[in-house]
């Protein structure tokens, strides 16, 4: 019984770290622009497809780290491009226009991918995974790699936000977006950079997800993306550490629900949890209530 629990805990860590990586992208964008980037889930999906293309189409066999970096850069650039083309012109428009534009961009990405690849694709194995067993507990090296890469990226992001000048500028923008340009901070460049980093993390999450669950399809961006968005909200949207916490909580709840209950109850339980948390803590676990002024 304890072994079963330990086994499920490892699975939960794997799923949770992927949710956390995607949730970070939602939270970072919300932090600087106070906007829900509904296209983020589809960027996550494109990350998996970019990895597939790089692994299958290129004649040379690239090492894992190079593919990861390439995927992050490509998806990051795409995220920054979407911000530049679709969101920046709407920065002074009513907030809901930007949200609808994001929804539209997400639909465009999703359905373009769907039209180009109508059937689910299979992700090749990028490296041969071995199974380690400790007693009756089995862990694959792939799981260790996924959890390790995800944790490494999160620590890297934490360093970026707390220790670098870019991170300081980003936090300043989310604290007071009007005063920041007066202090000589190039707001537009910082927002582009935020989108680059957030989308890059989403792309990396897509690649890790494809390695963990090798069947990838164009619609997974919507399914997994909305889940990760919920993770961001549970933690308190806009809060970086909250996003990580929410990702692991959601991953844990989903895996445990499937482990101990019929699997069709998974969504019911995770969304009821979300509703319960929002009723008692309306701004998430680590979130700050917004200032409401007259």
């Amino acid at each position: 019984m304890t072994f079963y629990l330990a086994q499920q805990t490892i699975n939960a860590l794997q799923l949770g770290s992927i949710y956390a990586l995607i949730a970070l992208g939602y939270s970072m964008v919300y932090g600087v622009l106070v906007m829900i980037n509904f296209a983020h889930g589809d960027l996550f999906m494109l990350g998996a497809f970019a990895c597939l293309l790089l692994a299958v189409l290129l004649p040379v066999h690239l090492p894992f780290v190079v593919i990861l970096l390439l995927v992050m850069i490509v998806i990051g650039l795409l995220g920054a491009f979407i911000e530049r083309v679709a969101y920046r012109p709407l920065r002074d428009a009513p907030r809901v226009s930007a949200i609808i534009t994001a929804l539209g961009c997400g639909l465009v990405i999703e359905n373009t991918t769907l039209s180009l690849s109508p059937y689910p694709q299979f992700m090749p194995e990028l490296f041969d995974s071995r199974t380690l067993s400790f007693g009756s507990l089995t862990v694959t090296t792939l799981q260790i790699l996924i959890i390790g890469v995800a944790l490494g990226l999160m620590l890297g992001l934490d360093f970026l936000i707390r220790r670098t000048s870019f991170g300081m500028a980003m936090r300043a923008i989310s604290f007071d977006a009007r005063t920041v340009p007066l202090m000589g901070i190039p707001v537009n460049r910082m927002i582009s950079l935020t989108f680059f980093v957030g989308a890059g993390l989403g792309g990396a999450a897509g690649m890790l997800y494809g390695l963990a669950y090798p069947q990838i399809s164009a619609t997974m961006g919507v399914l997994i993306g909305w889940k990760a968005f919920i993770a961001a909200v549970i933690g308190g949207i806009g809060s970086i550490r909250g996003a990580v916490l929410g990702g692991f909580i959601l991953g844990g709840v989903e895996v445990m629900a499937v482990a101990y209950l019929p699997s069709t109850y998974r969504d019911l339980i995770s969304y009821s949890l979300l509703l319960a948390i929002l009723v008692f803590k309306p701004y998430g676990l680590l979130g700050q209530p917004p200032n409401q002024k007259l």
Binding site: V96, Y265, L268
Partner: protein, 322 residues
């Protein structure tokens, strides 16, 4: 010409006349072969989409919240009416009207609960609550064997053009009268500034309940009509994709405008049919149109404006000359 159009727009008889002609036409379609079945289905879909769009506009446009759970109310209405027509009252004369009313009532009851939740949270967090509501409804239906679970249900085909037309008129009439009533002013005041409205003595909670219950009632009505026209419903037909479709229609047509809702629903439904040969690419083109529209006209086609026919006489003279 312009003068003529203007006088038509201001003629108080034009709208009732149009409704009467429309009703005569749809009834005639039932008895004479004026339209083929395909056009009838398209027209019924347009009608259902107008109901969905204008009822969502009440919460998203006039009250200024961002609900993404409208497909959940649709699902409740569809399943409630399907239960009525398949299991409880099969082969009764009143099954369609009763089923639709029952579907709307069930959806309205759940909408009341959602309104209670909206007292504490608003804005993005309320959007997420509606999302959670949608997902809970969908997976709850999937887990109830009595209604077929993930396999869905096959209600009889009962919806016809006259009934759809009737419900479209009822929806628009009720929502239009609600908006220009005292309660409607309260709902709009919440959109403009909830705290200030509260300070002015607007009963926020009453207005929110009224808006949510009305909106979800007509969402349920649309779902019930949808269930009886499609021959098959399953939980998957009411997921976030359906909600997104309704949102696209609302914001395409324009927020806080019933005329906009009609235009948005008509354009969206007809374009989907016209672009049929393109296959899945049409769902690339439609969102692209929406994005471009948002970039160049952030309020949608008719945002914050209204067809003159829907305005009460007292409002006509306040409008600035175009």
């Amino acid at each position: 010409m312009r003068h003529f159009l203007d006088s038509v727009a201001r003629c108080r008889w034009a709208l009732p006349a149009l409704i009467a002609v429309g009703f005569a036409f749809v009834v005639a379609c039932e008895y004479f072969p004026l339209l083929n079945d395909y056009s009838k289905i398209v027209l019924i879909t347009v009608g259902i989409n107008i109901i969905l769009c204008s009822s969502l506009n009440l919460v998203n446009g006039y009250m200024g919240e961002f609900s993404v759970g409208h497909a959940g109310f649709m699902a409740l209405g569809a399943y409630a009416s399907a239960l009525m027509t398949i299991k409880w009252l099969p082969a009764s004369v009143f099954e369609l009207p009763l089923g639709v009313l029952f579907g709307g009532t069930i959806a309205a009851a759940i909408g009341f609960l959602l309104a209670l939740l909206s007292f504490k949270t608003r804005g993005d967090y309320l959007a997420i609550i509606t999302l959670a509501f949608l997902m809970i409804v969908k997976s709850a239906i999937e887990n109830i064997n009595y209604v077929g679970g993930p396999r869905g249900m096959t209600p009889p085909v009962l919806t016809n053009l006259p009934w759809t037309f009737f419900w479209v008129v009822v929806t628009l009439w009720v929502i239009r009268n609600l908006i220009y009533s005292k309660f409607g002013r309260a709902i709009t005041a919440i959109r403009e500034d909830e705290i200030a409205a509260n300070a002015m003595g607007v009963r926020i909670r009453e207005a929110k309940i009224l808006a949510f219950v009305t909106s979800s009632f007509f969402g349920g009505v649309a779902g019930a009509l949808y269930a009886q026209v499609n021959f098959f419903i399953d939980p998957k037909s009411f997921d976030i994709v359906k909600s997104t479709e309704i949102l696209v229609m609302v914001y395409l047509g324009g927020i806080a405008s019933l005329g906009g809702s009609i235009i948005g629903a008509v354009i969206f439904t007809v374009l989907l049919q016209v672009l049929q040969p393109l296959g899945t690419w049409r769902m690339v083109i439609l969102p692209l149109i929406l994005v471009l529209l948002m970039l160049f006209r952030p309020r949608g086609i008719m945002g914050m404006r209204e067809l003159t026919w829907f305005l009460p006489a007292g409002e006509l003279f306040k409008r600035p000359k175009p």
